[in-house]
Protein backbone atom coordinates (compact mmCIF):
# COMPACT_ATOMS: atom_id res chain seq x y z
CA UNK A 1 0.00 0.00 0.00
CA UNK A 2 1.43 3.39 -0.92
CA UNK A 3 1.93 6.08 1.73
CA UNK A 4 -0.46 8.45 -0.02
CA UNK A 5 -3.84 7.06 0.99
CA UNK A 6 -7.12 8.89 0.38
CA UNK A 7 -7.20 10.04 4.00
CA UNK A 8 -3.74 11.54 3.76
CA UNK A 9 -4.50 13.09 0.37
CA UNK A 10 -7.54 14.84 1.86
CA UNK A 11 -5.44 16.09 4.79
CA UNK A 12 -2.77 17.35 2.38
CA UNK A 13 -5.41 19.14 0.28
CA UNK A 14 -6.63 20.94 3.41
CA UNK A 15 -3.02 21.78 4.32
CA UNK A 16 -2.56 23.25 0.83
CA UNK A 17 -5.63 25.44 1.39
CA UNK A 18 -4.13 26.57 4.70
CA UNK A 19 -0.82 27.46 3.05
CA UNK A 20 -2.57 29.27 0.17
CA UNK A 21 -4.57 31.39 2.60
CA UNK A 22 -1.49 32.10 4.72
CA UNK A 23 0.47 33.22 1.65
CA UNK A 24 -2.40 35.37 0.37
CA UNK A 25 -2.86 36.87 3.84
CA UNK A 26 0.64 38.32 3.64
CA UNK A 27 -0.73 40.78 1.05
CA UNK A 28 -3.18 42.10 3.66
CA UNK A 29 -2.52 44.35 6.66
CA UNK A 30 -1.16 42.31 9.57
CA UNK A 31 -1.24 44.90 12.36
CA UNK A 32 -2.85 48.32 12.30
CA UNK A 33 -1.36 50.33 15.18
CA UNK A 34 -2.13 47.95 18.05
CA UNK A 35 -5.20 46.33 16.51
CA UNK A 36 -4.85 43.32 14.22
CA UNK A 37 -5.54 44.00 10.56
CA UNK A 38 -7.46 42.01 7.95
CA UNK A 39 -4.56 39.60 7.39
CA UNK A 40 -3.86 38.73 11.03
CA UNK A 41 -6.39 35.95 11.62
CA UNK A 42 -6.23 34.27 8.18
CA UNK A 43 -2.42 34.15 8.36
CA UNK A 44 -2.48 32.40 11.72
CA UNK A 45 -5.38 30.15 10.82
CA UNK A 46 -3.60 29.08 7.63
CA UNK A 47 -0.42 28.27 9.54
CA UNK A 48 -2.32 26.48 12.32
CA UNK A 49 -4.20 24.40 9.74
CA UNK A 50 -0.93 23.44 8.08
CA UNK A 51 0.62 22.53 11.45
CA UNK A 52 -2.41 20.45 12.45
CA UNK A 53 -2.21 18.47 9.20
CA UNK A 54 1.52 17.87 9.73
CA UNK A 55 0.73 16.65 13.24
CA UNK A 56 -1.99 14.41 11.87
CA UNK A 57 0.29 12.94 9.19
CA UNK A 58 2.96 12.19 11.77
CA UNK A 59 0.61 10.53 14.26
CA UNK A 60 -1.91 8.89 11.89
CA UNK A 61 -2.05 5.13 12.06
CA UNK A 62 -1.68 2.98 9.00
CA UNK A 63 -5.16 2.78 7.43
CA UNK A 64 -6.91 -0.54 6.96
CA UNK A 65 -7.13 -1.95 3.45
CA UNK A 66 -10.35 -0.90 1.73
CA UNK A 67 -12.78 -3.56 0.66
CA UNK A 68 -13.84 -4.32 -2.88
CA UNK A 69 -17.49 -3.51 -2.15
CA UNK A 70 -16.49 0.10 -1.49
CA UNK A 71 -14.76 0.26 -4.86
CA UNK A 72 -17.87 -1.08 -6.64
CA UNK A 73 -20.17 1.41 -4.96
CA UNK A 74 -17.74 4.20 -5.75
CA UNK A 75 -18.76 3.92 -9.39
CA UNK A 76 -22.24 4.99 -8.37
CA UNK A 77 -20.82 7.94 -6.42
CA UNK A 78 -18.91 9.04 -9.52
CA UNK A 79 -22.02 8.64 -11.71
CA UNK A 80 -24.17 10.69 -9.32
CA UNK A 81 -21.50 13.42 -9.04
CA UNK A 82 -20.95 13.63 -12.80
CA UNK A 83 -24.73 13.90 -13.22
CA UNK A 84 -24.82 16.68 -10.62
CA UNK A 85 -22.12 18.63 -12.46
CA UNK A 86 -24.01 18.19 -15.77
CA UNK A 87 -27.27 19.27 -14.12
CA UNK A 88 -25.77 22.50 -12.75
CA UNK A 89 -24.09 23.18 -16.12
CA UNK A 90 -27.37 22.61 -17.98
CA UNK A 91 -29.51 24.90 -15.82
CA UNK A 92 -28.36 28.01 -17.69
CA UNK A 93 -29.11 26.40 -21.08
CA UNK A 94 -32.29 24.43 -20.65
CA UNK A 95 -33.84 26.04 -17.56
CA UNK A 96 -34.20 24.81 -14.01
CA UNK A 97 -37.17 22.49 -14.42
CA UNK A 98 -35.78 20.61 -17.43
CA UNK A 99 -32.33 20.19 -15.86
CA UNK A 100 -33.75 18.87 -12.57
CA UNK A 101 -36.17 16.52 -14.36
CA UNK A 102 -33.37 15.19 -16.59
CA UNK A 103 -31.12 14.64 -13.56
CA UNK A 104 -33.74 12.70 -11.61
CA UNK A 105 -34.55 10.63 -14.71
CA UNK A 106 -30.84 9.92 -15.19
CA UNK A 107 -30.43 8.84 -11.55
CA UNK A 108 -33.48 6.59 -11.32
CA UNK A 109 -33.43 5.08 -14.83
CA UNK A 110 -29.71 4.79 -15.63
CA UNK A 111 -27.84 4.90 -12.34
CA UNK A 112 -30.39 2.84 -10.36
CA UNK A 113 -31.89 0.87 -13.25
CA UNK A 114 -35.51 1.40 -12.19
CA UNK A 115 -38.46 0.98 -14.57
CA UNK A 116 -39.25 3.74 -17.08
CA UNK A 117 -42.68 4.39 -15.57
CA UNK A 118 -41.32 4.93 -12.05
CA UNK A 119 -38.38 7.02 -13.30
CA UNK A 120 -40.49 9.33 -15.47
CA UNK A 121 -43.17 9.58 -12.76
CA UNK A 122 -40.65 10.48 -10.04
CA UNK A 123 -38.89 13.03 -12.29
CA UNK A 124 -42.17 14.67 -13.31
CA UNK A 125 -43.81 14.82 -9.86
CA UNK A 126 -40.66 15.99 -8.04
CA UNK A 127 -39.97 18.71 -10.61
CA UNK A 128 -43.59 19.84 -10.64
CA UNK A 129 -43.72 19.89 -6.84
CA UNK A 130 -40.52 21.93 -6.55
CA UNK A 131 -41.66 24.31 -9.31
CA UNK A 132 -45.00 24.90 -7.61
CA UNK A 133 -43.51 25.46 -4.15
CA UNK A 134 -40.40 27.46 -4.99
CA UNK A 135 -41.42 29.34 -8.15
CA UNK A 136 -45.14 29.87 -7.84
CA UNK A 137 -45.57 29.91 -4.04
CA UNK A 138 -42.29 31.39 -2.78
CA UNK A 139 -41.63 33.49 -5.90
CA UNK A 140 -38.07 32.27 -6.49
CA UNK A 141 -37.08 33.43 -10.02
CA UNK A 142 -35.91 30.10 -11.48
CA UNK A 143 -33.94 30.23 -14.76
CA UNK A 144 -36.21 29.49 -17.73
CA UNK A 145 -35.31 27.39 -20.75
CA UNK A 146 -36.00 28.18 -24.43
CA UNK A 147 -39.45 26.56 -24.09
CA UNK A 148 -40.64 28.97 -21.42
CA UNK A 149 -40.24 26.85 -18.23
Amino acid sequence: MSWLTGERALALALAAIGLLFALEARELTYMDEFAPGAGFLPLWLGLILFALVVGFLITARKPKAEQDTLRRSERKVVAVTVGLVACVALIDWVGFASAIAAYILYLTRWVEGRRWGLSVGLAATTTLGLYLVFHLWLGVPLPMGPWGF
Binding site: L41, L49, T81, L107, P141
Partner: protein, 497 residues
Protein backbone atom coordinates in the same frame (compact mmCIF):
# COMPACT_ATOMS: atom_id res chain seq x y z
CA UNK B 1 -42.25 32.96 39.03
CA UNK B 2 -40.88 35.24 36.36
CA UNK B 3 -40.09 32.18 34.24
CA UNK B 4 -43.67 30.92 34.54
CA UNK B 5 -44.98 34.29 33.40
CA UNK B 6 -42.67 34.19 30.38
CA UNK B 7 -43.68 30.60 29.69
CA UNK B 8 -47.37 31.56 29.72
CA UNK B 9 -46.53 34.28 27.22
CA UNK B 10 -44.70 31.66 25.13
CA UNK B 11 -47.71 29.34 25.14
CA UNK B 12 -49.94 32.25 24.07
CA UNK B 13 -47.68 32.79 21.04
CA UNK B 14 -47.49 29.09 20.15
CA UNK B 15 -51.25 28.53 20.40
CA UNK B 16 -51.94 30.16 17.04
CA UNK B 17 -52.91 28.02 14.03
CA UNK B 18 -49.72 28.91 12.13
CA UNK B 19 -47.29 28.15 14.96
CA UNK B 20 -49.10 24.93 15.90
CA UNK B 21 -48.99 23.87 12.25
CA UNK B 22 -45.23 24.58 12.05
CA UNK B 23 -44.69 22.71 15.30
CA UNK B 24 -46.61 19.72 13.93
CA UNK B 25 -44.76 19.90 10.59
CA UNK B 26 -41.43 20.07 12.44
CA UNK B 27 -42.02 17.01 14.62
CA UNK B 28 -43.56 15.07 11.72
CA UNK B 29 -40.63 15.86 9.42
CA UNK B 30 -38.17 15.21 12.25
CA UNK B 31 -39.77 11.84 12.88
CA UNK B 32 -39.51 10.98 9.16
CA UNK B 33 -35.95 12.30 8.86
CA UNK B 34 -34.90 10.32 11.91
CA UNK B 35 -36.37 7.15 10.44
CA UNK B 36 -34.94 7.58 6.96
CA UNK B 37 -31.34 6.57 6.33
CA UNK B 38 -28.89 8.94 4.67
CA UNK B 39 -30.43 12.16 5.93
CA UNK B 40 -30.08 13.61 9.41
CA UNK B 41 -31.65 16.56 11.22
CA UNK B 42 -28.76 18.88 10.21
CA UNK B 43 -29.38 18.19 6.52
CA UNK B 44 -33.14 18.33 7.00
CA UNK B 45 -33.01 21.77 8.61
CA UNK B 46 -30.47 23.09 6.07
CA UNK B 47 -32.52 21.86 3.08
CA UNK B 48 -35.80 23.23 4.45
CA UNK B 49 -34.33 26.59 5.45
CA UNK B 50 -34.94 28.30 2.07
CA UNK B 51 -38.65 27.54 2.42
CA UNK B 52 -38.77 29.76 5.49
CA UNK B 53 -37.03 32.83 4.03
CA UNK B 54 -39.10 35.96 4.46
CA UNK B 55 -41.37 34.13 6.89
CA UNK B 56 -41.85 34.43 10.63
CA UNK B 57 -38.61 33.49 12.48
CA UNK B 58 -40.59 32.16 15.45
CA UNK B 59 -42.61 29.73 13.32
CA UNK B 60 -39.51 28.66 11.40
CA UNK B 61 -37.45 28.06 14.56
CA UNK B 62 -40.35 26.15 16.15
CA UNK B 63 -40.25 23.90 13.09
CA UNK B 64 -36.44 23.50 13.17
CA UNK B 65 -36.48 22.64 16.89
CA UNK B 66 -39.26 20.12 16.16
CA UNK B 67 -37.11 18.51 13.48
CA UNK B 68 -34.20 18.28 15.92
CA UNK B 69 -35.95 16.52 18.78
CA UNK B 70 -38.40 14.72 16.46
CA UNK B 71 -35.44 13.06 14.73
CA UNK B 72 -34.42 11.51 18.06
CA UNK B 73 -37.83 9.77 18.21
CA UNK B 74 -37.67 8.75 14.53
CA UNK B 75 -34.22 7.22 14.76
CA UNK B 76 -35.60 4.70 17.24
CA UNK B 77 -37.84 3.03 14.65
CA UNK B 78 -34.96 1.89 12.44
CA UNK B 79 -32.87 0.96 15.49
CA UNK B 80 -35.55 -1.35 16.84
CA UNK B 81 -36.95 -2.79 13.62
CA UNK B 82 -33.86 -3.28 11.46
CA UNK B 83 -30.99 -2.68 13.89
CA UNK B 84 -29.78 0.25 11.76
CA UNK B 85 -29.73 3.43 13.84
CA UNK B 86 -31.41 6.25 11.90
CA UNK B 87 -29.33 8.63 14.03
CA UNK B 88 -26.00 8.06 15.78
CA UNK B 89 -27.76 8.89 19.05
CA UNK B 90 -29.90 5.75 18.74
CA UNK B 91 -26.99 3.32 18.39
CA UNK B 92 -27.41 2.11 21.98
CA UNK B 93 -31.16 1.67 21.51
CA UNK B 94 -30.53 -0.71 18.64
CA UNK B 95 -28.66 -3.19 20.85
CA UNK B 96 -31.52 -4.27 23.08
CA UNK B 97 -34.33 -2.78 20.96
CA UNK B 98 -33.52 -5.10 18.07
CA UNK B 99 -33.26 -8.09 20.39
CA UNK B 100 -36.72 -7.22 21.75
CA UNK B 101 -38.02 -7.02 18.17
CA UNK B 102 -36.58 -10.48 17.45
CA UNK B 103 -38.56 -11.77 20.42
CA UNK B 104 -41.75 -10.20 19.03
CA UNK B 105 -41.71 -7.21 21.42
CA UNK B 106 -40.97 -4.44 18.90
CA UNK B 107 -44.21 -2.70 19.90
CA UNK B 108 -43.26 -2.55 23.58
CA UNK B 109 -39.75 -1.31 22.73
CA UNK B 110 -41.08 1.47 20.49
CA UNK B 111 -43.82 2.34 22.97
CA UNK B 112 -41.44 2.59 25.92
CA UNK B 113 -38.95 4.55 23.80
CA UNK B 114 -41.73 7.02 22.93
CA UNK B 115 -42.87 7.35 26.55
CA UNK B 116 -39.28 7.68 27.81
CA UNK B 117 -38.55 10.24 25.11
CA UNK B 118 -41.66 12.20 26.04
CA UNK B 119 -40.84 12.28 29.77
CA UNK B 120 -37.18 13.14 29.09
CA UNK B 121 -38.00 15.70 26.41
CA UNK B 122 -40.38 17.42 28.83
CA UNK B 123 -37.91 17.29 31.73
CA UNK B 124 -35.14 18.51 29.42
CA UNK B 125 -37.30 21.45 28.39
CA UNK B 126 -37.87 22.28 32.08
CA UNK B 127 -34.08 22.19 32.47
CA UNK B 128 -33.64 24.47 29.47
CA UNK B 129 -36.21 26.85 30.93
CA UNK B 130 -34.42 26.96 34.29
CA UNK B 131 -30.77 26.91 33.16
CA UNK B 132 -30.68 29.15 30.11
CA UNK B 133 -31.88 32.49 31.59
CA UNK B 134 -29.34 32.61 34.49
CA UNK B 135 -26.56 31.52 32.14
CA UNK B 136 -27.53 34.29 29.72
CA UNK B 137 -27.62 36.74 32.63
CA UNK B 138 -24.09 35.72 33.65
CA UNK B 139 -22.91 35.99 30.05
CA UNK B 140 -23.90 39.66 30.01
CA UNK B 141 -20.64 40.27 31.89
CA UNK B 142 -18.62 38.59 29.15
CA UNK B 143 -16.31 40.82 27.13
CA UNK B 144 -14.43 40.08 23.88
CA UNK B 145 -11.74 37.89 25.55
CA UNK B 146 -14.40 35.69 27.16
CA UNK B 147 -16.23 35.29 23.85
CA UNK B 148 -13.00 34.42 22.10
CA UNK B 149 -12.29 31.76 24.75
CA UNK B 150 -15.86 30.46 24.49
CA UNK B 151 -15.60 29.92 20.73
CA UNK B 152 -12.24 28.20 21.16
CA UNK B 153 -13.79 25.95 23.81
CA UNK B 154 -16.84 25.19 21.63
CA UNK B 155 -14.69 24.18 18.66
CA UNK B 156 -12.26 22.17 20.78
CA UNK B 157 -15.09 20.38 22.59
CA UNK B 158 -16.74 19.42 19.31
CA UNK B 159 -13.38 18.25 17.96
CA UNK B 160 -12.62 16.28 21.11
CA UNK B 161 -15.66 14.02 20.70
CA UNK B 162 -14.81 13.29 17.05
CA UNK B 163 -13.21 10.01 16.00
CA UNK B 164 -9.89 11.89 16.06
CA UNK B 165 -9.29 15.17 17.92
CA UNK B 166 -6.79 16.28 15.27
CA UNK B 167 -9.28 15.65 12.47
CA UNK B 168 -11.91 17.63 14.38
CA UNK B 169 -9.51 20.52 14.89
CA UNK B 170 -8.48 20.42 11.21
CA UNK B 171 -12.08 20.73 10.01
CA UNK B 172 -12.88 23.37 12.64
CA UNK B 173 -9.96 25.57 11.56
CA UNK B 174 -10.89 24.97 7.90
CA UNK B 175 -14.39 26.30 8.69
CA UNK B 176 -12.92 29.39 10.36
CA UNK B 177 -10.60 29.93 7.40
CA UNK B 178 -13.36 29.58 4.80
CA UNK B 179 -15.38 32.19 6.67
CA UNK B 180 -12.63 34.78 6.15
CA UNK B 181 -13.42 34.85 2.41
CA UNK B 182 -15.18 38.09 1.41
CA UNK B 183 -15.06 41.54 2.90
CA UNK B 184 -13.24 42.03 6.22
CA UNK B 185 -15.95 43.07 8.71
CA UNK B 186 -13.83 45.71 10.48
CA UNK B 187 -11.64 47.38 7.85
CA UNK B 188 -13.61 46.60 4.69
CA UNK B 189 -10.64 44.99 2.92
CA UNK B 190 -11.38 42.33 0.33
CA UNK B 191 -9.98 38.92 1.29
CA UNK B 192 -9.39 35.76 -0.74
CA UNK B 193 -11.88 36.46 -3.53
CA UNK B 194 -9.28 35.58 -6.20
CA UNK B 195 -10.83 38.13 -8.56
CA UNK B 196 -14.33 36.63 -8.31
CA UNK B 197 -16.94 39.29 -7.55
CA UNK B 198 -19.47 36.71 -6.37
CA UNK B 199 -17.11 35.72 -3.55
CA UNK B 200 -17.35 39.22 -2.03
CA UNK B 201 -20.30 38.06 0.07
CA UNK B 202 -18.24 35.13 1.32
CA UNK B 203 -19.34 31.53 1.54
CA UNK B 204 -22.92 31.33 2.71
CA UNK B 205 -23.51 29.04 5.64
CA UNK B 206 -26.52 27.47 3.90
CA UNK B 207 -24.43 26.46 0.86
CA UNK B 208 -21.85 24.71 3.04
CA UNK B 209 -24.43 23.07 5.31
CA UNK B 210 -26.54 21.72 2.43
CA UNK B 211 -23.43 20.60 0.53
CA UNK B 212 -21.78 18.78 3.43
CA UNK B 213 -24.84 17.42 5.27
CA UNK B 214 -27.03 16.94 2.17
CA UNK B 215 -24.97 16.14 -0.96
CA UNK B 216 -21.97 14.74 0.94
CA UNK B 217 -24.20 12.54 3.11
CA UNK B 218 -26.07 11.17 0.06
CA UNK B 219 -22.79 10.31 -1.70
CA UNK B 220 -21.41 8.69 1.45
CA UNK B 221 -24.57 6.60 1.91
CA UNK B 222 -24.37 5.46 -1.71
CA UNK B 223 -20.74 4.48 -1.27
CA UNK B 224 -21.70 2.15 1.58
CA UNK B 225 -24.16 0.21 -0.59
CA UNK B 226 -27.90 0.34 -0.02
CA UNK B 227 -29.20 -3.18 0.27
CA UNK B 228 -32.75 -3.40 1.56
CA UNK B 229 -32.99 -3.99 5.29
CA UNK B 230 -35.52 -6.66 6.17
CA UNK B 231 -38.12 -5.73 8.77
CA UNK B 232 -38.23 -8.76 11.02
CA UNK B 233 -41.43 -8.26 12.92
CA UNK B 234 -44.81 -6.58 12.90
CA UNK B 235 -45.51 -3.84 15.45
CA UNK B 236 -48.14 -4.95 17.96
CA UNK B 237 -49.01 -3.96 21.54
CA UNK B 238 -47.30 -0.59 21.54
CA UNK B 239 -48.54 0.20 25.05
CA UNK B 240 -46.01 -1.35 27.47
CA UNK B 241 -47.12 -3.61 30.34
CA UNK B 242 -47.25 -2.58 34.01
CA UNK B 243 -44.10 -4.62 34.61
CA UNK B 244 -42.33 -2.69 31.84
CA UNK B 245 -43.36 0.61 33.40
CA UNK B 246 -42.06 -0.45 36.81
CA UNK B 247 -38.75 -1.51 35.30
CA UNK B 248 -38.32 1.73 33.36
CA UNK B 249 -39.35 4.42 35.83
CA UNK B 250 -35.92 5.03 37.30
CA UNK B 251 -33.92 4.41 34.09
CA UNK B 252 -36.02 7.09 32.35
CA UNK B 253 -35.41 9.55 35.18
CA UNK B 254 -31.69 8.79 35.29
CA UNK B 255 -31.45 8.99 31.50
CA UNK B 256 -33.23 12.36 31.53
CA UNK B 257 -30.83 13.87 34.06
CA UNK B 258 -27.71 12.41 32.40
CA UNK B 259 -28.93 13.47 28.96
CA UNK B 260 -29.59 17.04 29.99
CA UNK B 261 -26.27 17.50 31.80
CA UNK B 262 -24.27 15.96 28.94
CA UNK B 263 -26.29 17.91 26.35
CA UNK B 264 -25.44 21.22 28.01
CA UNK B 265 -21.71 20.53 27.65
CA UNK B 266 -20.43 21.91 24.35
CA UNK B 267 -19.64 19.16 21.90
CA UNK B 268 -20.98 16.24 23.89
CA UNK B 269 -24.55 15.93 22.59
CA UNK B 270 -27.16 13.21 22.31
CA UNK B 271 -24.92 10.37 21.13
CA UNK B 272 -22.55 10.50 24.10
CA UNK B 273 -25.51 11.02 26.46
CA UNK B 274 -27.11 7.79 25.24
CA UNK B 275 -23.83 5.88 25.62
CA UNK B 276 -23.39 7.09 29.22
CA UNK B 277 -27.05 6.39 30.12
CA UNK B 278 -26.72 2.82 28.80
CA UNK B 279 -23.48 2.28 30.71
CA UNK B 280 -24.99 3.65 33.94
CA UNK B 281 -28.05 1.39 33.66
CA UNK B 282 -25.86 -1.63 33.11
CA UNK B 283 -23.78 -0.64 36.13
CA UNK B 284 -26.74 -0.21 38.50
CA UNK B 285 -28.72 -3.19 37.18
CA UNK B 286 -29.07 -6.32 39.32
CA UNK B 287 -28.81 -8.35 36.11
CA UNK B 288 -26.19 -6.67 33.92
CA UNK B 289 -25.68 -9.96 32.08
CA UNK B 290 -29.12 -9.54 30.48
CA UNK B 291 -28.08 -6.31 28.76
CA UNK B 292 -27.70 -6.93 25.06
CA UNK B 293 -30.38 -9.64 25.04
CA UNK B 294 -33.47 -7.43 24.87
CA UNK B 295 -33.87 -5.61 28.20
CA UNK B 296 -36.45 -2.84 28.11
CA UNK B 297 -34.52 -0.60 30.55
CA UNK B 298 -31.66 -0.59 28.03
CA UNK B 299 -34.07 0.93 25.49
CA UNK B 300 -35.74 3.40 27.84
CA UNK B 301 -32.61 4.96 29.36
CA UNK B 302 -30.66 5.85 26.16
CA UNK B 303 -33.86 7.07 24.50
CA UNK B 304 -34.57 9.32 27.47
CA UNK B 305 -30.98 10.54 27.43
CA UNK B 306 -30.85 11.44 23.75
CA UNK B 307 -34.10 13.43 23.93
CA UNK B 308 -33.13 15.24 27.08
CA UNK B 309 -29.73 16.02 25.54
CA UNK B 310 -31.31 17.72 22.52
CA UNK B 311 -33.05 20.13 24.94
CA UNK B 312 -29.81 20.53 26.91
CA UNK B 313 -27.84 21.34 23.74
CA UNK B 314 -30.07 24.36 23.23
CA UNK B 315 -28.93 25.91 26.52
CA UNK B 316 -25.46 27.05 25.32
CA UNK B 317 -26.86 27.90 21.88
CA UNK B 318 -29.56 30.25 23.18
CA UNK B 319 -27.76 31.58 26.26
CA UNK B 320 -24.22 31.97 24.90
CA UNK B 321 -24.64 31.77 21.12
CA UNK B 322 -22.25 28.80 21.13
CA UNK B 323 -23.84 25.68 19.67
CA UNK B 324 -22.81 22.37 21.13
CA UNK B 325 -23.56 20.10 18.17
CA UNK B 326 -23.78 20.03 14.39
CA UNK B 327 -27.56 20.42 14.35
CA UNK B 328 -27.57 23.33 16.79
CA UNK B 329 -24.80 24.92 14.68
CA UNK B 330 -27.15 24.74 11.67
CA UNK B 331 -29.96 26.18 13.80
CA UNK B 332 -27.67 29.00 14.93
CA UNK B 333 -26.88 29.77 11.29
CA UNK B 334 -30.62 29.85 10.57
CA UNK B 335 -31.23 32.31 13.41
CA UNK B 336 -28.44 34.58 12.14
CA UNK B 337 -30.02 34.48 8.66
CA UNK B 338 -33.25 35.67 10.27
CA UNK B 339 -31.35 38.61 11.75
CA UNK B 340 -31.30 37.22 15.31
CA UNK B 341 -28.05 36.88 17.24
CA UNK B 342 -28.28 34.07 19.81
CA UNK B 343 -26.61 34.91 23.09
CA UNK B 344 -27.42 36.85 26.23
CA UNK B 345 -28.89 39.80 24.32
CA UNK B 346 -31.48 37.50 22.75
CA UNK B 347 -33.01 36.89 26.19
CA UNK B 348 -33.35 40.62 26.77
CA UNK B 349 -34.33 41.83 23.32
CA UNK B 350 -36.43 38.91 22.04
CA UNK B 351 -37.94 37.39 25.17
CA UNK B 352 -41.08 36.33 23.33
CA UNK B 353 -38.99 34.45 20.76
CA UNK B 354 -37.10 32.37 23.32
CA UNK B 355 -40.14 31.49 25.39
CA UNK B 356 -42.24 30.64 22.34
CA UNK B 357 -39.58 28.10 21.30
CA UNK B 358 -39.45 26.65 24.81
CA UNK B 359 -43.27 26.43 24.99
CA UNK B 360 -43.38 24.82 21.55
CA UNK B 361 -41.04 22.08 22.80
CA UNK B 362 -43.58 21.05 25.46
CA UNK B 363 -46.31 20.91 22.82
CA UNK B 364 -44.06 19.18 20.27
CA UNK B 365 -43.22 16.42 22.74
CA UNK B 366 -46.94 15.78 23.35
CA UNK B 367 -47.47 15.65 19.57
CA UNK B 368 -44.63 13.18 19.21
CA UNK B 369 -46.03 10.95 21.93
CA UNK B 370 -49.37 10.85 20.11
CA UNK B 371 -47.65 10.28 16.75
CA UNK B 372 -45.48 7.51 18.10
CA UNK B 373 -47.83 5.38 20.16
CA UNK B 374 -50.68 4.69 17.71
CA UNK B 375 -48.88 5.65 14.51
CA UNK B 376 -45.54 3.84 14.92
CA UNK B 377 -46.52 1.16 12.34
CA UNK B 378 -47.26 3.91 9.84
CA UNK B 379 -43.77 5.38 10.20
CA UNK B 380 -42.29 1.91 9.85
CA UNK B 381 -43.66 1.95 6.30
CA UNK B 382 -41.05 4.66 5.55
CA UNK B 383 -38.39 1.99 5.94
CA UNK B 384 -39.77 0.29 2.85
CA UNK B 385 -39.09 3.36 0.65
CA UNK B 386 -36.03 2.37 -1.40
CA UNK B 387 -33.08 4.73 -1.08
CA UNK B 388 -32.80 4.64 -4.89
CA UNK B 389 -36.06 6.60 -5.03
CA UNK B 390 -35.34 8.79 -2.05
CA UNK B 391 -31.92 10.24 -2.81
CA UNK B 392 -32.75 11.79 -6.23
CA UNK B 393 -35.46 13.80 -4.45
CA UNK B 394 -33.03 14.82 -1.67
CA UNK B 395 -30.47 15.97 -4.27
CA UNK B 396 -33.13 17.93 -6.18
CA UNK B 397 -34.11 19.63 -2.90
CA UNK B 398 -30.46 20.46 -2.21
CA UNK B 399 -30.06 22.06 -5.67
CA UNK B 400 -33.20 24.18 -5.51
CA UNK B 401 -32.60 25.06 -1.84
CA UNK B 402 -29.13 26.43 -2.50
CA UNK B 403 -30.21 28.23 -5.68
CA UNK B 404 -33.19 29.92 -4.03
CA UNK B 405 -30.99 31.36 -1.31
CA UNK B 406 -29.31 33.93 -3.56
CA UNK B 407 -30.52 32.99 -7.07
CA UNK B 408 -26.93 32.28 -8.00
CA UNK B 409 -25.51 29.48 -10.15
CA UNK B 410 -22.11 30.19 -8.60
CA UNK B 411 -23.46 28.97 -5.26
CA UNK B 412 -24.52 25.76 -6.99
CA UNK B 413 -20.96 25.19 -8.19
CA UNK B 414 -19.74 25.79 -4.64
CA UNK B 415 -22.32 23.24 -3.47
CA UNK B 416 -20.90 20.66 -5.88
CA UNK B 417 -17.33 21.30 -4.69
CA UNK B 418 -18.23 21.20 -0.98
CA UNK B 419 -20.53 18.23 -1.55
CA UNK B 420 -17.59 16.25 -2.89
CA UNK B 421 -15.45 17.52 0.01
CA UNK B 422 -18.23 16.44 2.41
CA UNK B 423 -18.23 12.96 0.86
CA UNK B 424 -14.48 12.53 1.31
CA UNK B 425 -14.71 13.94 4.84
CA UNK B 426 -17.39 11.40 5.71
CA UNK B 427 -15.48 8.59 4.05
CA UNK B 428 -12.26 9.32 5.89
CA UNK B 429 -13.98 10.21 9.18
CA UNK B 430 -13.22 13.93 9.20
CA UNK B 431 -16.17 15.35 11.23
CA UNK B 432 -18.39 17.87 9.44
CA UNK B 433 -19.88 19.55 12.52
CA UNK B 434 -16.72 21.54 13.46
CA UNK B 435 -16.47 22.76 9.83
CA UNK B 436 -19.98 24.22 10.00
CA UNK B 437 -19.43 25.54 13.52
CA UNK B 438 -16.20 27.25 12.43
CA UNK B 439 -17.95 28.95 9.52
CA UNK B 440 -20.88 30.07 11.68
CA UNK B 441 -18.81 31.33 14.61
CA UNK B 442 -15.95 32.99 12.71
CA UNK B 443 -17.42 36.53 12.73
CA UNK B 444 -17.86 36.36 16.51
CA UNK B 445 -14.43 34.75 16.89
CA UNK B 446 -12.59 37.29 14.73
CA UNK B 447 -14.32 40.33 16.19
CA UNK B 448 -13.67 39.09 19.73
CA UNK B 449 -10.01 38.39 18.95
CA UNK B 450 -9.37 41.73 17.27
CA UNK B 451 -11.25 43.74 19.89
CA UNK B 452 -9.39 41.92 22.68
CA UNK B 453 -6.00 42.61 21.10
CA UNK B 454 -6.96 46.23 20.48
CA UNK B 455 -7.91 46.55 24.17
CA UNK B 456 -4.62 45.01 25.28
CA UNK B 457 -2.49 46.92 22.74
CA UNK B 458 -1.61 43.69 21.00
CA UNK B 459 -0.79 41.62 24.11
CA UNK B 460 -2.07 38.04 24.20
CA UNK B 461 -1.88 38.17 28.01
CA UNK B 462 -5.44 39.55 28.07
CA UNK B 463 -6.76 36.02 27.49
CA UNK B 464 -5.03 34.55 30.53
CA UNK B 465 -5.19 37.44 32.98
CA UNK B 466 -8.98 37.68 33.01
CA UNK B 467 -10.37 34.91 35.23
CA UNK B 468 -13.28 33.73 33.07
CA UNK B 469 -11.37 33.57 29.79
CA UNK B 470 -8.38 31.97 31.56
CA UNK B 471 -10.68 29.32 33.06
CA UNK B 472 -12.36 28.63 29.72
CA UNK B 473 -9.00 28.28 27.97
CA UNK B 474 -7.70 26.02 30.76
CA UNK B 475 -10.78 23.81 30.36
CA UNK B 476 -10.16 23.74 26.60
CA UNK B 477 -6.56 22.69 27.10
CA UNK B 478 -7.68 20.01 29.55
CA UNK B 479 -10.32 18.69 27.12
CA UNK B 480 -7.67 18.28 24.44
CA UNK B 481 -4.64 17.25 26.47
CA UNK B 482 -5.89 15.17 29.43
CA UNK B 483 -7.21 12.18 27.40
CA UNK B 484 -3.98 12.13 25.36
CA UNK B 485 -1.81 12.35 28.48
CA UNK B 486 -3.78 9.50 30.08
CA UNK B 487 -3.34 7.37 26.96
CA UNK B 488 0.38 8.11 27.01
CA UNK B 489 0.64 7.14 30.70
CA UNK B 490 -1.30 3.90 30.05
CA UNK B 491 0.93 2.95 27.13
CA UNK B 492 4.06 3.74 29.17
CA UNK B 493 2.78 1.58 32.04
CA UNK B 494 2.01 -1.23 29.61
CA UNK B 495 5.48 -0.94 28.10
CA UNK B 496 7.13 -1.05 31.53
CA UNK B 497 5.01 -3.93 32.81
Amino acid sequence: MEALGHLAQGFAIVFTPTNLLFCFLGVLLGQAIGALPGIGPSAGIAILMPLTFGGDPIAATIMFAGIYYGAQYGGTITSVLVSIPGESSTVMTSIDGYQMARKGRAGAALGMAAIGSFVAGTLGTVGLMLAAPPLAQAALYFGPPEYFALVVMGLAALASVSSSVLKGLITGVTGLLLATIGVDPQMGDTRFTFGQIWLLDGIEFLVLAVAVFGVGEVLATLSQGDGPAPIITAIRNVWPTRKDFRACRLPILRGSVIGFLVGVLPGAGATIASFIAYAVEKKVSKHPERFGNGVIEAVAAPEAANNSASAGAMVPMFALGIPGSGTTAVMLGALIMFGLRPGPQLFQQHTEFIWAIIASMYIGNVMLLILNLPLAPLFAVLLRVPYAVLYPVILALCIIGVYSQSNSLDDLWLMVVFGVLGYFMKRYHFPAAPLILGLVLEPLFENALRQSLALSHGSLAIFVTRPISATLLAVTAAVILVPRAMRLVRSLRAALA
